[in-house]
């Protein structure tokens, strides 16, 4: 028998409003569970990505940078800005005990005026010593960066082969990085020769807020990995005590604020999922019960015509299965249509690292959400199916029940 001629399908088709309401309810359930799970996972993936991108135990910055709150804005929030300290601080840090890997970085923000193609954060690194950016860039670009070569973050609308102008200097885009869900997606990376030339150019054009600096004699921050046998705490304290006018910060401390916000958002989403899910189940239970109640005579007639109790329960369960399956697909489709294209907007509104999981994982969530919605929908219908299989045909047909 063709599926479209089966009794459950014809029952659903015969009552389009009732079917539409049931589909809408299950769609809401699956939308909540799928979207909520995807949001929480994306936030956690974003935080994990941020942790791995920072890639160092300690970050040493000029003391003024920490007092103006520009540090977190630049490093974590993606704001454009820069700060500098004398390169002799870098030498002094090198002399301290407990320093394992160490590398200097240079920051520069391009302007959005005529000198530059766009306003972006430019991060320079020393390829000989760097251990935080190079491993990550190597995934997208295997060669060594030449002067005026830049690697661009994934979200920038620039592609390999493009030319971008910063302070009158034309730079060549040699690679585009994978998406990280962090502020690095909108940054430009280059080697120290290029960034020093760009800093000099910004000074020549009188567009740098630091007027009296020599690009060859400054660094923006120093990234440190602690040597074996030393604790991060010890090295941070040692630098803060012995190296003047700098501040050593534990990178884990820097992202603790983000972790707290993320935990808060995750909790709210979790509670919302639980509340909507609970309400949805109760409403679905009532909807199936009311629907079966008003169809008692229909089932009694089927019983008189020879349908077994199991057959009646089977019809109810098949109808529930069909509506739940279709509803969950609709709900998940809506969730995908909102979260995937608008992920950038969501990231901006939440102001937290937000990185969608890989396609395989998203497919896994889709399948799980369908299974969970279908099982819960079918279980709620199971109560009504059990009741309808126990009906007293004679009483119902006489209109006494």
């Amino acid at each position: 028998m063709k599926f479209s001629h089966s009794l459950p399908f014809r029952n659903l088709k015969g009552k389009p409003v009732r079917t539409a309401i049931l589909i809408l309810l299950t769609a809401l359930l699956s939308l909540t569970v799928f979207s909520g799970t995807l949001m929480i996972t994306s936030l956690k993936t974003g935080l994990h990505s941020l942790e791995s991108r920072l890639g160092a135990d300690i970050m040493v910055v000029p003391y003024e940078a920490t007092t103006k709150s520009s540090l977190e804005n630049i490093v974590l929030q993606g704001a454009t800005g820069y700060f500098y300290m004398n390169a002799d601080k870098y030498q002094k840090i090198l002399e301290r005990e407990g320093i394992g890997q160490v590398s200097a970085q240079f920051f520069l923000a391009s302007a959005s005026s005529g000198c530059c193609s766009t306003a972006v954060q430019i991060i320079g690194f020393d390829p000989d010593t760097d251990f935080t950016i190079t491993p990550w860039i190597k995934k997208s670009y295997g060669n060594t960066l030449q002067k005026y070569d830049v690697v661009v973050g994934n979200n920038l609308n620039l592609f390999v082969g493009d030319t971008v102008t910063f302070y009158g200097k034309e730079c060549h885009v040699t690679a585009k990085l994978d998406k990280t869900g962090t502020s690095f997606d909108t940054a430009v990376f280059t080697n120290q020769d290029t960034i020093k030339a760009l800093i000099q150019s910004s000074l020549d054009l009188n567009m740098n807020t630091f007027q009296n600096i020599d690009p060859e004699q400054v660094v923006s921050c120093v990234m440190i990995n602690v040597a074996e046998g030393y604790t991060v705490e010890d090295v941070v304290n040692d630098i803060n005590i012995h190296v003047k006018k700098v501040k050593a910060v534990r990178t884990k401390e820097m992202i603790s604020g983000i972790s707290d916000s993320l935990a808060g958002v995750s909790d709210v989403i979790g509670i919302l999922i639980a509340v909507v899910w609970g309400l949805g189940i109760v409403i679905l239970l009532l909807a199936f019960a009311m629907s079966i109640n008003e169809r008692k005579k229909e089932f009694a007639v089927l019983r008189v015509m020879g349908a077994s109790r199991n057959r009646l329960a089977g019809i109810v369960m098949q109808e529930a299965l069909l509506t739940c399956l279709f509803g969950s697909i609709v709900g998940i489709a809506v969730g995908l249509l909102v979260i995937l294209p608008f992920n950038q907007l969501i990231e901006e509104q939440l102001n937290l690292p937000f990185l969608l999981p890989e396609t395989g994982k998203i497919i896994g969530y889709v399948i799980s959400a369908v299974i969970v919605s279908v099982i819960s929908g079918s279980l709620t219908a199971g109560v009504s199916a059990f009741r309808i299989s126990r009906i007293d045909t004679a009483l119902i047909l006489r209109g006494e029940n």
Partner: protein, 136 residues
């Protein structure tokens, strides 16, 4: 069947109107620069608006035409135009450089979703009109 095709045609009409009005008032591209000049995304917005008007006229025509084959022909053209609209932001006409700008975070996904819905509903409606025609 006639009821369903009527609902589908009405949905197409509403989606086309949403594309036209939304591109101008709800999910428009970035504002002009301080000197009054427009960025590239403005031209993407204008093109989407023009295609939206074309889609709206075509969707209204499905109510005017009586012949099912003509209606499904109109809906095939609507599918093609919707696919073209989908390609406008950032593919055929480049948007701004920064992803956090309005054209990237609001206009592009909104146009994308409406265009996909338009294409899907146009295909379904076209098939329904063909079925309706062959049933007569």
């Amino acid at each position: 069947m006639k009821k369903i095709t009527c609902i589908l045609d009405a949905i197409l009409c509403l989606l086309s109107a949403l594309l036209c009005l939304g591109t101008k008032f709800l999910f428009h591209a970035c504002a002009p620069k301080e000197d009054g000049s427009w960025m590239a995304c403005h031209w993407a917005e204008q093109t989407v608006f023009g295609l939206g008007i074309t889609l709206l006229i075509l969707s209204i025509l499905t109510f005017v035409f009586k012949d099912g084959k003509t209606k499904s022909g109109v809906q095939i053209s609507m599918t093609v135009i919707s696919a073209l609209t989908l390609c406008i932001p950032n593919h055929l006409i480049k948007l701004c450089m920064m992803p956090d700008m309005r054209c990237h975070s609001v206009m592009k996904p909104s146009v994308m979703i409406i265009s996909i819905l338009l294409a899907v509903f146009a295909v379904i409606s076209g098939i329904c009109h063909r079925k309706e025609e062959s049933a007569l």
